[in-house]
Symmetry: C2
Subunit: 158 residues, 2 copies
């Protein structure tokens, strides 16, 4: 039973993420000007790490350089990312969110806050859930990284 619950955590995270993507895709209530899932991840990182390099942002969003570049190009063309060349290393670019991007992120933020209005209200419950999910995310990313780096397959319990 304990085992089934762990797998249930994944399923629920997946379902919630799916609803989020679906809501986001319905442009009526969104006005995010057609950001894809990857666009959102990229913009979240750039917004939280203004001045980041493309490589750091690509790593953080789990994208290989080429795909990140493609997403970035689209975001820049639509006016969401400002690009500067690093003064100390001309190979690097420094990425900044534009005011328009920040406004979009704020709208996303409000939307999701509205969505959870009346669904979760207990502050302690929110705190505890966030703490658990954060640990899950960190632990999973760590294990996933180990798997990728080592040739041996996933650990099996028999």
């Amino acid at each position: 039973m304990d085992e089934a619950q762990k797998s249930r955590l994944f399923e629920l995270a997946d379902l919630i993420a799916a609803v989020g993507r679906q809501i986001h895709a319905s442009k009526e209530g969104m006005t995010t000007e057609s950001w894809t899932a990857l666009d959102i991840a990229v913009m979240r990182y750039i917004d939280r790490n203004p001045g980041t390099s493309a490589r750091a942002a690509a790593d953080a969003t789990q994208q290989i350089s080429s795909n990140f570049s493609r997403a970035l190009r689209g975001l820049e063309r639509k006016g969401f990312v400002h690009r500067e060349t690093d003064q100390e290393d001309a190979r690097r670019v420094r990425l900044y969110p534009t005011a328009r991007a920040q406004e979009n992120l704020r709208r996303l933020h409000d939307l999701w806050s509205d969505l959870l209005d009346g669904v979760v209200s207990d502050q302690d419950e929110v705190d505890a859930t966030i703490a658990t999910l954060r640990r899950m995310e960190a632990g999973l990313a760590e294990k996933a990284r180990k798997w990728r780096d080592s040739p041996e397959p996933a650990p099996r319990k028999a």
Copy 2:
């Protein structure tokens, strides 16, 4: 601050789901024989609702008929779904998981359980988190449905 946390819940769910998809995509540790995200959702539903109709399964997995049919055809061709014609209504099909599909689901289950081993251990914490996520998922699906069905845009708080 409370507002930011609600949006953070979405982001974490998305990140966890992304790690799950990524791990699943690395076939080394999986042996799920290349199930896509949609395949997993479909198989989960059929496994829990054996004998379901295609329409019910398509609705439950948020797929329109044509796309569900495409996914189902692939699963059937690979031997994961057994299809029978309904005796009472020859238009309907009845869908059942094969033993091979159930074995794959069990492996997925074990994998995810392994992944969370050592990450979440407190039973009360697991219970509470699952309860919160379930309410989130139900509440969100409800709101998403309302948005789709009504022409008015998303509720804005200002």
